[in-house]
């Protein structure tokens, strides 16, 4: 990824190259998730536990979000002069 950032920095301004790169990134994410879908579908453990996986996922998401919101509101009130703006 660091190599990519350097390459991107050198390529900045070349809109056409960047456009193609962005399309490729989007496309490779689709392909990878497609592959992940395939191996997940072929994995009986995942399919039979789908409900509990979903439950775990939502619990982790809500806890992470709650934690980060809590700290951010403290930061907002102390350093960002909350309320006023």
């Amino acid at each position: 990824m660091s190599a990519g950032i350097v390459a991107g920095f050198l390529l900045r301004g070349r809109q056409r190259v960047i456009f193609i790169l962005e399309k490729t990134t989007g496309f490779s994410i689709y392909i990878l998730l497609f592959f992940l879908g395939i191996s997940v579908g072929a994995n009986d453990k995942v399919i039979s536990n789908f409900a509990s996986i979903g439950f775990n996922a939502v619990v982790i998401a809500l806890c992470s979000v709650a934690g980060s919101i809590l700290l951010s509101s403290i930061l907002y009130k102390t350093l960002f002069n909350g309320k006023k703006n």
Partner: protein, 205 residues
């Protein structure tokens, strides 16, 4: 939103094919996936490096802004550590890794299924999609009760793209730059934090 739907469709189509075993065996191995992941990491990096906004924002950075992603990371890790108490059958490191997707579900689920297993990869996918959807839906409420930084925190890595419109609408345009900055930092850090969590966890086991 359209992008998210397309991504989920690709995943679901792959899943349907996998369930029906409608595939040549070489496609179900994980090795091609690993190299594709390295390639993807390179592309994501290139996209960030080529973004003019990134370098402009970095140029007029101040300490206050820098604290935003730091606080989001700490809060997320704290929250997901707490979730491992609620979910005793899931290892703490696994909860932390899933949480450290910061909403970047495409990359985090792929990395986690490579490092650990597909079950956890799917957990990461669903969990981080939930984070994005939660932010999109609750942004106005979050601003009201927890201040203008709250939707940026809730959005995590997505605050630079998918959740940016709701952030700039409910927190105000002056928070959009901050949201992009925080989102970029978190996006760059996702792979490093997830790998670090497992490196550290392996020291204790």
């Amino acid at each position: 939103m359209k992008g998210s739907i397309i991504i989920v469709l690709f995943f679901v189509t792959g899943m349907a094919l996998g369930v029906n075993r409608f595939l040549p065996p070489f496609l179900t191995g994980t090795d091609p996936g690993l190299y594709a992941l390295y390639f993807l990491m390179f592309l994501v990096g290139t996209g960030i490096g080529a973004d003019r906004n990134v370098w402009r924002i970095l140029a007029d950075l101040n300490v206050k802004i820098l604290l935003v992603p730091v606080v989001i990371i700490l809060g997320t890790l704290g929250g997901s550590a707490l979730s491992s108490v609620i979910l005793p059958q899931t290892a703490t490191a696994d909860c932390l890794a899933v949480g450290s997707g910061f909403g970047y579900y495409s990359l985090s689920s792929i990395i986690i299924s490579q490092i650990r297993n597909e079950t956890l990869g799917v957990t990461a996918l669903l969990s981080n999609i939930s984070r994005e959807i939660f932010t999109l839906i609750t942004a106005p409420i979050l601003v009201k009760f927890f201040g203008k930084l709250a939707p940026v925190a809730s959005g995590g890595a997505t605050s630079m793209d998918t959740t940016l419109p709701v952030i700039s609408r409910y927190s105000g345009r002056e928070y959009a730059v901050l949201a992009v900055f925080s989102g970029i930092v978190l996006t760059v850090l996702v792979p490093f934090i997830i790998t670090a969590i497992y490196k550290i966890a392996s020291l204790f086991s």
